[in-house]
Symmetry: C2
Subunit: 346 residues, 2 copies
């Protein structure tokens, strides 16, 4: 059986190019006792992968050249010599950018796709959802009536941050790139406001939308947008630093408003959700309940076929996606219907 894989061909210099990836084929090995074979249905594309492509020191080891690209996946068990898994089981894991995986199952988590669609286990009831949950509740610690500001608000993480903030009784204000995304964030996701950072009126829009200041900032972007947000913080505000996508290609994302940290006695904390495995069960349970009750909605952008992954990834880094960016590897796999809209083509 042939297993198509996308490997890292070269480390990007500046923006990622399709030629930084290479498609290869490998044999699927025979199963040993205790192993199982899975077929990937959905591959998750996430900003953290960009950092892994560099060899700069990061929180995770750099991806090796020639190695299959890392990535979260939903897969189906095809064969099993492991008593914990049976053919037909759906599992979340880290199979990466490939069609099949043989593992011992130790890193796999069985999921129930009856209540929550398979693809959502890579989104608002998966790593991005737990990321939102952790940064908001454990670092941001918002109190009812406070204002929560989140950048990249139309993305997989940001969209959950704002909806959780609303559930917690807060005012949720998003920042996103472009009018369409802002309309989606307010109209479909129910944020109180969303500001287009590409608009000339962004500074005034931000001021108007945060009249009482900002108590919690959930930062995914960095750079000028972060400086603008810091200027709106209330005393004793909390800033959860989740991502700095504005600097992933080596851009200068200097933070100029350092004075705000002192003057407003801010708490600024970087975090990586994988450092906190102990919160995942509670977070996933709460997120699943919110999804089941319709309190959390989401959108997906789905690219078709493994070969489309590099282009979809590059598009995501450019902000071309709306909501969770996925790659569907099996044509019959059903992506989650977004409540209120069909999945956009990748």
């Amino acid at each position: 059986m042939r297993n198509r894989q996308v490997v890292l061909a070269s480390r990007p210099r500046g923006p990622v190019k399709e030629s930084d990836f290479r498609m290869v084929e490998a044999e699927v090995p025979a199963l040993q006792e205790g192993e199982l074979l899975t077929r990937v249905h959905f591959l998750s594309l996430d900003p953290y992968m960009r950092a892994r492509m560099d060899d700069a020191r990061s929180y995770a080891a750099a991806q090796r050249l020639g190695e299959v690209m890392i990535g979260g996946t939903v897969a189906e068990v095809l064969e099993s010599r492991n008593p914990r898994f049976r053919p037909g089981d759906k599992v979340v894991g880290m199979a990466g950018w490939q069609e099949y995986q043989v593992t011992d199952g130790s890193m796999l988590r069985k999921i129930d796709t009856a209540a929550i669609p398979a693809s959502a286990h890579l989104g608002c009831v998966g790593m991005p959802g737990v990321t939102a949950w952790y940064g908001l509740t454990r670092i941001g610690k918002p109190r009812p009536g406070e204002t929560v500001l989140v950048s990249a608000a139309a993305g997989a993480v940001g969209s959950v941050v704002g909806q959780l903030a609303r559930i917690l009784g807060c005012r949720a204000v998003g920042i996103a790139g472009g009018k369409a995304k802002c309309e989606h964030v307010v109209g479909e996701l129910g944020f109180d406001a969303c500001l287009d950072h590409k608009a000339a009126s962004f500074p005034e829009d931000l001021r108007a939308a945060t009249e009482k200041g900002v108590d919690v900032l959930f930062e995914n972007v960095g750079g000028a947008v972060l400086d603008a947000a810091l200027s709106r913080m209330n005393p004793f505000g909390r800033v959860a630093v989740c991502g700095l996508i504005a600097g992933y290609d080596g851009q200068d994302i200097a933070l100029r408003n350092v004075r705000a940290i002192l003057v407003d006695r801010l708490l600024v904390q970087g975090f990586i959700v994988s450092d906190h495995p102990q919160v995942w069960p509670q977070a996933l349970q709460e997120l699943a309940a919110h999804v089941a009750a319709g309190r959390i909605r989401w959108r997906e952008t789905v690219a078709e076929g493994l070969e489309s992954a590099p282009r979809a990834f590059i598009g995501m880094l450019r902000g071309e996606n709306l909501g969770k960016q996925l790659v569907r590897l099996v044509r019959e796999a059903a992506a989650a219907g977004p409540r209120g809209g069909a999945p956009s083509p990748g």
Copy 2:
């Protein structure tokens, strides 16, 4: 009775000039029931006063033009119509840059100058000491064996930070401006190392002195020195932002190494010690015990006479002082003998 006072004459544009201050004279009013008259022995000069001279938004209201400059003081009670105070009592308060003050006593704290010299109540057993204690123990939370790095290590706050870190079983590394300060910090205060940020070899010196990385950074300066320090942080390091003196005259102190906050999951927290009155009793008690036991040593730079305050303040902002910068207003008042050296002239 004539009361000489130094008032704010103009808001500085760039570096503070002596002409930004003006000496005036006022009558000392007669005491009302409940009031007392104090004579200032020592005036404390501290970096926070620089921020108060601007009218930019800050954590404290800007100093008004023509108003007596704010400042912590040790004073002696001359007359009292308040049953809590008797002539001869020594008190710590905020009389500001003047010779006499009439108050209702509500903001005064009686001190014992037998065990702790009067001037030290403005230094390591006063506001700067509590600042060091709070930032280190409540934000930095160092564990034995960890490395604590502190900038402006020869200053009133930094010198206590490093000595407390040593008491807590940590490696204490200072950063200071110039060879003489660094020698003092290591030789007299007992830090494990101190690095001259003006030296060409500073980056390598910093690396060599923090071979195991930095777990706690106590930041008083900002700018390039902060960026250099951030590059040495260990994962899950804590950064207590106490001051940003490099930017007080409007200089660009952009933080370029924002990535470290995310990659190393740092906690960066600004603080102002006056926000935390509940810790003062415990902190002062511990600091006094350390001083009495000889575990905390200090140095003072003492300027003579109220008229010398502006020049001494400007010198402090330039880093010309060693240790706590004071102004002695009463010639017979005894400054604390530094253990191991005489007070430098201001």
